[in-house]
């Protein structure tokens, strides 16, 4: 029974680091350990890993936790002040907090090295420039929810290969027809028909949070939170000098909570912009994972690139080729006489399908209205701009 106890302790440790290890996993782990030679540490490691881990991203965290736990299981005992831990946001309960404070120092660098959706732990060395968000009242949240319901991105009705029964369908539904015919003794009285289901395509938002964009950060985060929660299949990335995937954190239904979890993940609030590098990073690490099934990409940036723009055009071209529709939302355009003079803008413009300038981004409503404007023909929206390049 000692073994079972240890497994449960270990499962609790994993849970505190934010992995979703439930009773089912613990039971499976105990079962698995009866099937292998438990005197061999490596076998135990491999067996527990096979049953307790569900994602590649969780592996480094698991390996660290395993190494620490089986070396010094006493760390697994709840550290002093554990009651306070219980109240914290799930994302903040990383391994560092889960173990005793002394152990936290040692685990920090490895966790920071692999910055991704699950193990995103900001390095202590980096100077954090956190954003403060005004508390949002219930009324504001409700208003945001209502506003986001009106969001209709261009090409939002994508026909799928699935069918639904429809009296005005365009295909005969033979199984339904035969089922109906049984009611009339096998006589087919009317043909049942069906039609393709439609559903919005996956949405990938790449949002710039550099200094020049900071005045919109509040509205944009508000928007991102609503869109991530009220729409299916949304992935959200923030970039300044580097790219962070905040999809999981944003999924928390309470916006304040979600923002609290996001801000430590993103060390480059209001810093410089390296759009090209961030997009290259996205293309390499995420594009194939999130751009499947006809995804629409929403790029939110002012296009003010700090670096050389050669890499930017290339990265934009690749991004454009790998998604179904690329929409650029540019909030810098606060006056009508805008001309795309900035280098970055000139590099991005040729590679977008829709160009949506927002002339006065003061509210979420305005942002949504802008995005919901009817779609032009592919490329038509920017041809006017392109002439002025």
């Amino acid at each position: 029974m000692m073994l079972a106890q240890n497994v449960l302790h270990f499962a609790r440790l994993l849970r505190r680091t934010g992995l979703s290890v439930g009773a089912a996993e613990s039971l499976a782990a105990i079962e698995a350990l009866t099937l292998i030679d438990i005197s061999d540490r490596d076998s135990v490691h491999d067996a527990l890993r096979a049953v307790m881990i569900r994602r590649h991203e969780e592996l480094p965290l698991f390996d660290q936790a395993f190494a620490l736990f089986w070396r010094a299981p006493q760390f697994s005992g709840l550290p002093a002040g554990a009651a306070g831990l219980e109240k914290m946001a799930p994302g903040e309960r990383r391994l560092a907090e889960a173990l005793a404070p002394g152990a936290a120092e040692r685990t920090q660098p490895a966790a920071a090295a692999d910055q991704n959706e699950d193990t995103g732990t900001a390095s202590a060395r980096e100077r954090l420039n956190r954003m403060d968000f005004e508390a949002m009242g219930a009324v504001e949240i409700a208003a945001a929810k209502a506003a986001i319901k009106t969001l209709r991105l261009p090409l939002d009705e994508r026909r799928t290969r699935r069918w639904r029964p429809a009296t005005t369908g365009n295909r005969v539904d033979l199984p339904a027809t035969i089922r109906a015919s049984l009611r009339t003794g096998g006589e087919i009285m009317a043909l049942e028909t069906r039609r393709n289901r439609t559903r919005p395509p996956p949405l990938v938002v790449l949002c710039d949070i550099s200094g020049s964009m900071s005045r919109y950060a509040q509205i944009l985060l508000h928007f991102l939170h609503s869109v991530a929660n009220d729409r299916e299949r949304v992935s959200v990335f923030l970039f300044g000098t580097r790219l962070s995937n905040i999809t999981r954190q944003l999924k928390h239904h309470d916006p304040e909570f979600a923002f609290q979890m996001v801000s430590p993940l993103v060390p480059d609030w209001s810093g410089g912009t390296r759009i090209g590098a961030a997009l290259q990073d996205f293309n390499r690490r995420w594009a194939r994972r999130v751009l499947g099934q006809g995804a629409v990409v929403l790029l939110v940036t002012d296009g003010l690139e700090r670096d050389d723009t050669a890499g930017l055009a290339e990265a934009m071209a690749r991004l454009h080729r790998s998604c179904r529709r690329l929409i650029w939302l540019n909030p810098l355009l606060r006056w009508d006489g805008f001309a795309p003079k900035a280098q970055g803008v000139r590099a991005i413009l040729p590679h977008v399908d829709e160009f949506r300038p927002v002339h006065n981004l003061e509210s979420l409503k305005r942002l949504i209205a802008c995005l919901s404007a009817p779609a032009g023909a592919r490329n038509a929206a920017i041809s006017a701009w392109r002439d002025r390049l």
Binding site: A28, A32, D37, R55, R162, G186
Partner: protein, 297 residues
């Protein structure tokens, strides 16, 4: 199957060189009768595991290739509508309309697709391979849950089909989309990584048996280097094997920078990667790989 070593031996007997972690996971999947969920980059041998398991366990392999819009009719079962219509007409002619409902929804008119075939109690036990699950859409995943949890399928009008002997289930994903947690929970998970040099050399010995030993060592050393380079799609084991066979077909005994450049399309499938590698000093990499291969036994 009583130990990890035996499982590894079973895979090895079929020409699959598994690392210890994979052998453990496969062993547990077989012992606990749980589905095996394999994720990894394309060309790392995920599908191969299912084939090897089928051959090694002497089971038939039932393969379901996933795609967007894969539905019940293509994956599990379908009613033979033409046959049903015919039966309806015949029963009208003979005036036996009463038994109609039962008779047209019988086994006779049930067309078995891979999922049903894998759990059909009247067929010998199977290895079910659900290949590239990430290509299917979420509704299909939801449908798969019942099958993975209980190894049974409920068919309205017909009843529940339950496997007599549970099939060995292998799911693979290239991660072009995140597979839902509900599926992951029912499976044992393994990330199939690129092999290290020693394992890749062993794989080459089996998959390209006639290959010159020197060339083989150089090929492995070079491919391992390419994987470290800053490129979009590192070559998988499948590409290594293809490349080795291509070089053998050209009657080569050793690598040369010129030849690598000429045959790079076998290894890398993106123009950007090819140019990036050429710009990053292809000849130097070839020379390094050759000297490394010479040092290694």
């Amino acid at each position: 199957m009583t130990s990890i070593a035996e499982t590894a031996a079973l895979l090895a007997a079929q020409g699959y060189i598994a690392d210890r972690q994979l052998a453990t996971t496969v062993h547990l999947a077989l012992a606990m009768q749980r589905p095996l969920f394999l994720e990894g980059e394309p060309g790392t041998g995920k599908t191969e595991i299912a084939k090897v398991l089928a051959a090694g366990l002497g089971r038939r392999l039932v393969r379901l290739q996933c795609y967007d819009g894969l539905d019940l009719a293509a994956s599990a079962y379908e009613w033979d509508h033409a046959g049903q219509l015919m039966a309806i007409r015949l029963s009208e002619a003979s005036g036996r309309g009463q038994e109609l409902a039962a008779s047209i929804y019988s086994r006779e008119f049930l067309l078995r697709r891979p999922l049903l075939s894998a759990i059909d109690p009247e067929l010998p036990p199977a290895v079910l391979l659900v290949d590239e699950l990430d290509r299917a859409d979420e509704p299909f995943e939801a449908f798969l849950l019942e099958l993975l949890g209980d190894f049974q399928l409920s068919i309205p009008q017909f009843g529940v089909v339950r496997a007599k002997e549970k099939p060995v289930v292998v799911l693979t994903s290239n991660r072009t989309r995140e597979v839902h947690d509900a599926i992951r929970r029912r499976c044992l998970y393994h990330w199939v990584d690129y092999p290290d040099a020693a394992r890749e050399a062993a794989i080459l010995r089996i998959k390209a048996p006639g290959l010159d030993a020197k060339l083989s060592a150089e090929v492995v050393a070079f491919v391992q280097r390419v994987r470290d380079a800053d490129i979009f799609k590192p070559p998988g084991v499948a590409e290594t094997i293809d490349w080795a066979l291509a070089l053998a077909a050209l009657d080569r005994r050793e690598l040369s920078a010129q030849m690598v450049e000429d045959t790079l399309g076998v290894l890398l499938k993106y123009q950007d990667d090819i140019t990036a590698l050429q710009a990053a000093g292809l000849a130097a990499r070839v020379a390094e790989a050759k000297s490394e291969a010479r040092l290694a036994p």
